[in-house]
């Protein structure tokens, strides 16, 4: 069931287009990771989906904001209220009865390991605790669509795992969960759908597997002697390899480590004098964006 759709939605401030045009929809259940570099439009997209911003052109149809839970990057907390008070008051604002809000607050505080800090004011909580409390405020009214902007920022490994488990649980219970993140590995762990944004444009909407099938999974990074880059790049391109000049050096994309190891060995033998260093690594988010940019 489609909960929310954007049709040819754009968002512009003055002459500057920050997002779109893009069309997508969110259906009940499942977890979507929204990936992109800083300034790619992730937050703008989430705010439009949350109903906080109206698209400049195009349409947003579907759930009202009250059926959506949204946790922005800046913790939306009252510094002088305790964790329990936050959840009870937000529950009340969202129309829960006092007893339902109390029960849900207890459940969420327990799930997010905040129970020992339930009576602390938000200003007295650590950054990670405040982050978890912010996520809890978005969840308290059992939203049908949950939009989280960098929810794992500042969390340690154990708390990250706990929050990931909670999000998976919510998704399997039918909530559509959308998480904006920079971390490709984390996206792979929690999401069954990936939205890749770059400068406001949607570069990919599908599974991580689909992305990796069509895009190289690994990169060989070559650091070369000054002046030899162009010549080496030309030689590699002549052998039908995908080669890009990046800030880190010359990047050769490949679909397997073995393929790239063979190239590295051949280069080491043939261009020993030009080669200063080499590294093979799994493709990062930036690598994927490099590959997908038109």
């Amino acid at each position: 069931m489609t909960l929310l759709s954007l049709e040819a939605a754009t968002f512009a401030v003055g002459e500057r287009q920050l997002l779109g045009p893009l069309s997508l929809s969110f259906v009940a259940g499942g977890c979507t990771a929204l990936l992109g570099a800083n300034g790619s439009g992730k937050t703008t997209l989430l705010r439009i989906a949350a109903g906080l911003l109206a698209p400049t052109t195009g349409l947003r149809t579907g759930l009202a904001p009250t059926a959506i839970g949204y946790c922005p990057q800046a913790d939306p907390l009252w510094p002088d209220l305790t964790a329990t008070e936050h959840l009870q008051i937000v529950g009340g604002l969202q129309g829960l009865t006092a007893s339902s809000a109390w029960a849900r607050a207890t459940e969420l505080l327990d799930h997010l390991d905040l129970m020992p800090h339930a009576s602390k004011q938000a200003a007295m909580l650590s950054g990670g605790m405040r982050r978890r409390l912010s996520v809890a405020t978005a969840l308290v009214h059992r939203p049908r669509l949950l939009l989280l902007d960098e929810p794992f920022a500042g969390l340690d490994t154990a708390q990250t795992a706990r929050l990931e488990a909670l999000l998976r649980e919510e998704a399997s219970a039918g909530t559509a969960v959308v998480v904006a993140t920079h971390d490709l590995d984390q996206a792979a762990r929690i999401a069954d759908r990936l939205l890749l944004l770059d400068e406001g444009r949607l570069l990919h909407d599908g599974t991580l597997e689909a992305l990796r099938t069509h895009r190289p999974s690994h990169r060989l990074l070559l650091t070369l002697r000054e002046g030899s880059e162009a010549e080496v790049a030309e030689a590699l391109q002549a052998t039908a390899l995908q080669v890009r000049t990046t800030d880190e050096g010359l990047a050769v994309s490949g679909s397997s480590v073995a393929e790239l190891q063979a190239i590295a060995a051949s280069l080491a033998a043939q261009r020993q004098n030009d080669l200063v260093g080499l590294e093979i690594r799994a493709a990062t988010l930036d690598d994927l964006l490099d590959e997908l940019r038109p």
Partner: protein, 249 residues
Amino acid sequence: MRFAALARLAWLRQWRDPASLALSVLTAPCFALLYGLIAPGGEPAFAGYLPSLLVFSSIMALFGAAMALARERAEPSLLLLRMAQVDGVALVAGFALPQLLINLVSLALTLGAAGLVGFRTGSSLAAIGAACALASCASIGLGLLVAATAKSVSRAFLSASVVMFLQLLFSGLLFPRPSGPSVAVAGHNISLWDILPTTHLHLLLSRLLTTGDGALASLRLLALALLAALFVTIGGLLLTRAIRQSARA
């Protein structure tokens, strides 16, 4: 449910700032005690002082409401109100009620303190209370207007100060009321300065606390009720709009 949650939120935020709460509640009673204990002149002088003190006390509600709501507008937590799509009536009632209660407690303590130091009035305390409650509502309404236009707490404080000066200087509280444009309605001359709640409250209290003139008091009470309704409605509408359009959340 939403109103109750908002009222709880507003009350908790007041409660967690005990110094501000104490200043809001105890300033006027302390001044009443101080004047009664050390000022010369006895009851006649006190009868001139007490109305002004109660008017000042009602003006405190303007600052309280303006700054509390400007703080809500300026903090990231505004998002929680926006996502809940809180309606204007719940928003205004939820935030105004604690302010009104604080002001009424202060008023009761002020009258109690005045009584302690020997002041007696022949007027009905209920009438005095009604006048002060209506003036507090009007002040809170002005506070909503200030909060709707102020993007920070410091701006709200400055704007509230401007409104306070306007009320002090043109209501006849400190200086004789200057003549200004006026219109005659049903045999009554209505001046431009009648738009200020303090004009009516000061005249009302001066009469109630000294002579107990009932006929004029009813008209002034009505004027205060109309001003309170006007300011709360306009302030509430503008504040709701400002919150919905806020770029911060």
